[in-house]
């Protein structure tokens, strides 16, 4: 393995052990994406020969790609890990969906609110997330241990300085942290690591012919019958893959021939666009990620 990946691996493992040692109720957020897969792989290493001493939590918006759900369940079975799946019952009852309710409201209710509910319900006071600093500008300013006051509020002006490897892990009841073991990884690091470690990922990352429609300048997968086909839209088969995975109507695919992890690594080295350009929810407004984070989004 490259020394750079080896160093990133060691740093991530240290962060995980730190959180497990200092917080009474840790949990690992599992979004089923490539970053979550890498994070989970690192957790298996960090606590070897034991198992990770925390459960996985998936906040299900009910609009994930079908292949993601299948992959999630297969992973939990394969590794024999405790997996908690949480759906915002209130949002599900109200039938909040990303199409008719709008992406903004859906994200707010089914992701942000749901996550807060899940953390409160189970009393988790530290949650691992796979966010990286290279993803987005406000994430570049994020701490490794991101402090949340009670109510899960993120105040960018009141984050704790992180000097050396000395984390201020002190919290009061009701307060919590989000921990980001992959803070210093780049998208390319993640894929190179997946390649060298042979980590299973959702097949949606690999190019193959899929039924898609052209929408808002990107390719949207017709994943199930719930996607309304607009007048003039004709689902066509195109060879596409996803750089990032979210709710399927909100996540655009790119045209690509990269049908293996090695091909993805090559493709990324040539890439001229960023990873999250396929995420429709990020571009609502320029400081959109920061706003969502302040409200409790990851």
């Amino acid at each position: 393995m490259k020394p750079r990946l080896r160093q990133l691996e060691a740093e991530s493992i240290a962060i995980m052990r730190e959180v497990v040692a200092e917080f009474s109720r840790p949990v690992m957020l599992h979004s089923i994406g490539k970053d979550s897969s890498v994070m989970l792989h690192l957790a298996l290493k960090a606590f070897r020969p034991g198992k990770p001493p925390f459960p996985l939590l998936h906040v299900d918006t009910l609009w994930k790609f079908r292949e993601m759900i299948a992959f999630r369940d297969a992973t939990a079975r394969r590794l024999a890990l405790e997996l908690i799946t949480y759906v915002n019952p209130d949002g599900a009852e109200r039938g909040i969906d990303p199409i008719r309710s709008g992406s903004s409201l859906h994200t707010q209710i089914m992701k942000t609110e749901a996550l807060k509910q899940a953390l409160d319900t189970y009393g988790f006071n530290a949650a691992f997330g796979g966010a990286r600093r290279d993803e987005e500008k406000s994430r570049a300013k994020e701490r490794i241990l991101s402090f949340r006051s009670s109510g899960h509020v993120w105040d960018p002006r009141d984050q704790r300085p992180e000097l050396w490897r000395l984390f201020n892990t002190r919290i009061r009841p009701g307060e919590s942290v989000r921990a980001f073991p992959l803070s210093n990884w780049t998208e390319l690091d993640v894929w190179e690591y997946i390649l060298t470690q042979n980590i299973p990922v959702v097949p949606l990352y690999l190019a193959k012919p899929r039924p898609v429609v052209r929408r808002a300048g990107t390719w949207i997968l017709v994943d199930d019958e719930r996607l309304p086909i607009e007048p003039g839209e004709v689902p066509t088969n195109r060879t596409v893959r996803f750089r990032t995975l979210g709710c399927y109507p909100l996540t655009g695919a790119i045209e690509s021939e990269a049908d293996s992890v090695a091909a993805i690594v090559d493709e990324l080295r040539q890439s001229k666009t960023s990873e999250r350009q396929g995420r429709l929810i990020d571009t609502d407004e320029s400081a959109s990620m920061e706003k969502k984070k302040r409200e409790g989004y990851f």
């Binding site: 490259k2 020394p3 750079r4 080896r6 160093q7 691996e9 060691a10 493992i13 240290a14 052990r17 730190e18 497990v20 040692a21 290493k45 960090a46 606590f47 070897r48 020969p49 034991g50 198992k51 600093r133 290279d134 987005e136 500008k137 406000s138 994430r139 570049a140 300013k141 960018p156 002006r157 984050q159 704790r160 300085p161 992180e162 000097l163 050396w164 490897r165 000395l166 984390f167 201020n168 002190r170 919290i171 009061r172 803070s183 210093n184 780049t186 890439s271 001229k272 666009t273 960023s274 350009q277 320029s286 400081a287 920061e290 706003k291």
Partner: protein, 611 residues
């Protein structure tokens, strides 16, 4: 060079010197800005930009809404970029004084600092402050980037004036390696390509420098240090201690020391990220299984046997104060050091460091952004190294007990006092064995008092008497020690503390050898006499106060020092310019006015049962 680790550097300097613009320019010129980000940047430049039609690269970095609105950098941004020659992780840190803690955060993880100055404004207080912080935090490679050189029409004179002014300041830090580069972040001169508008400049471009600067510190060759993060006990048959190797290497079979207990054992098994390994080195995550079932949990430090860490509950350190609430000496704070949390107080602020002049200023407390040299005491012994030897085992943070605010960061200079439960190298022949062959009880007879009080005179007569009695003695005299062991020390308070600390350690070695040690030192401060006392077993250290009035000492003035001090030739002279703190409870007080020498000696011999 694709295999090597990324170079970590930070940009700092005063507000508006163009730090974020510089990084934005570096990212852009090295092809790191994605098309969709460039598109967003063009839109943002029109909305928030400060340069009219020119693309405002700082907006690539200033990711927080408040930052964009106020057009300043508040928080550290970490950005990756790479060239075919090297990968980089750069911390863009804020220039405003109120965000100094964020700047220090960036500096703590970096090996190189790019300090910007505005070519029109020159060296500012913040330039000096950031240089001081970088130097204290162990950064040795500094680039002085004289930015906005376009505003002074790319002139050589202005650049060289700033360089001279900067060197005059930075030259005071002994081992800084400074490279000065004139550049324009806005227009790209001397960033990635050599500027045709500054043919007079023969040095490297910024990128040339960053691609080629050597910073590799080989932590693997330093002594083994392994702070215990977590005890891994998945089942009854496995018990390992998990952590990251901060320095050195470890192999199965190596002997290690548990710092806080002093116990030693061997490494039976090493579990790395991929399973069992024969050895592991600095920077790697590992789980060690020890041969002996010892009490070792989170907060402890596993070290090499031959090169152990210091274990103490008092030490001196540089402290950068972050909080708006000023430091309260003797207030109990939480200290995070290594993986340990411990209660700690700052007992004294020795001095405050003027970041403008590097002068040591008298201070009793520290306010926000102050840097001080302090003594600290912890509620339990902690294991550490000097920061200069190991950043990870020599640093700490202080946290408020109630609000949990991170109040300060510290870098340890040296231990002040050995904790009583330090476990030294266990030796087959110990102190009592050595003393037994001499048929005596080891003692330290410590004379304190003003200059001219009669300490040395009494000490010499006492040693002569003991010698006649067949006792094995050694005399340590202030003047003699200062001519040899302590000739590097002056008479500032800090140096006086160190002087006494060293004498105490020497006396300790000599009592271990079984000797009766006679020490004659002014030793004006109670705290240091106390510090020395704690090196010894109860009853072993005998504090003898030679209580001669100041007027009598001045009258005697055997070395002519009072005369010189009164003439202003000796600053900090004890009793005149510097205080003498009388012992509150000495083991013995002797007066010298009107008392014959031999009766004083007899009194001491009797009281100390040295006969």
């Amino acid at each position: 060079m694709g295999g090597v680790l990324p170079l970590r550097f930070l940009t700092c300097g005063s507000v508006d010197d163009g730090k974020s613009t510089l990084i934005g320019r570096l990212l852009s010129e090295t092809g790191q800005v994605f098309d969709d980000h460039l598109k967003a940047l063009t839109i943002d430049s029109r909305r928030y930009g400060t340069n009219g039609a020119v693309v405002d690269y700082s907006l690539l970095l200033d990711g927080l809404e408040t930052e964009r609105e106020q057009r300043i950098t508040i928080d550290v941004a970490w950005r990756h970029f790479s060239t075919p020659r090297r990968a980089f992780l750069v911390a863009d840190t804020p220039g405003h004084e109120q965000y100094t803690r964020n700047m220090a955060t960036g500096a703590s993880g970096c090996d190189v600092a790019v300090i910007l100055v505005d070519a029109e404004k020159g060296v500012l207080p913040q330039t000096r402050r950031h240089t001081t912080i970088c130097a204290l935090m162990g950064i040795r490679k500094i680039v002085l980037a004289v930015n906005k050189i376009d505003l002074v029409v790319f002139g050589q004179d202005g650049f060289e004036r700033i360089v001279r002014e900067y060197h005059a300041f930075a030259g005071g830090f002994s081992d800084l390696d400074v490279t000065c580069i004139p550049l324009s972040a806005l227009y790209g001169d001397n960033i990635a390509t050599r500027s045709p508008r500054m043919a007079w400049f023969a040095g490297p471009t910024l990128l040339d420098y960053l691609e080629s600067v050597e910073v590799q510190v080989d932590l693997a060759v330093r002594p083994f240090r392994f702070p215990v993060q977590w005890v891994n006990r998945p089942n009854g048959s496995f018990r390992g201690i998990s952590g990251t190797i901060m320095s050195g290497t470890i192999a199965v079979g190596d002997e290690v020391r548990i710092a806080l207990s002093g116990q030693t054992t061997r490494v039976k098994q090493i579990v790395g990220p991929d399973g069992g390994v024969a050895s592991a080195a600095a920077g790697e995550a590992a789980t060690l299984v020890l041969a002996a079932d010892l009490e070792v949990g989170r907060g402890n430090l596993v070290t090499a046997v031959r090169e152990p860490a210091t274990v103490a509950d008092q030490f001196a350190a540089h402290v950068i104060w972050f909080s708006h609430d000023p430091l309260l000496p003797e207030r109990a704070y939480l200290m995070r050091i290594g993986t340990k949390w411990v209660s700690a107080t700052i007992t004294t602020v020795k001095h405050k460091l003027s970041t403008a002049t590097r002068e040591q200023l008298a201070a009793r407390t520290l306010h926000v952004n102050d840097i001080g040299f302090c003594t600290l005491a912890t509620s339990a012994p902690v294991a550490f190294d000097a920061y200069s030897g190991n950043r990870d085992t020599g640093s700490f943070i202080l946290v408020d007990r109630v609000t949990h605010e991170t109040l300060a960061a510290g870098m340890i200079a040296y231990a002040l006092r050995r904790a009583t439960n330090v476990h030294f190298e266990p030796l087959a022949i110990d102190k009592s064995a050595r003393a037994a062959t001499k048929a005596q009880t080891p003692r330290v007879l410590w004379f304190t008092g003003l200059s001219g009080a009669g300490k040395s005179t009494i000490a010499r007569a006492l040693e002569a008497s003991l010698h006649r009695l067949g006792r094995h003695t050694m005399m340590l005299d202030g003047d003699n020690i200062r001519l040899g062991l302590n000739k590097d020390l002056g008479f500032t308070d800090v140096d006086r503390v160190e002087n006494i600390r060293r004498v105490g350690e020497v006396a300790k070695l000599m009592t271990d050898a079984g000797l009766i040690v006679i020490c004659a030192f002014i030793s004006p401060f109670r705290a240091e006499r106390q510090m020395v006392r704690r090196l010894f077993a109860p009853g072993e250290f005998v504090e003898i106060f030679v209580d001669t009035p100041l007027e009598e000492c001045v009258r005697r003035d055997p070395k002519g020092l009072y005369g010189k001090a009164a003439a202003g030739l000796i600053p900090n002279f004890t009793g005149l310019g510097s205080p003498y703190e009388r012992p509150e409870a000495p083991d013995l007080t002797v007066t010298t006015v009107g008392c014959p020498l031999d009766s004083i000696v007899t009194a001491i011999l009797t009281a100390c049962s040295c006969t």
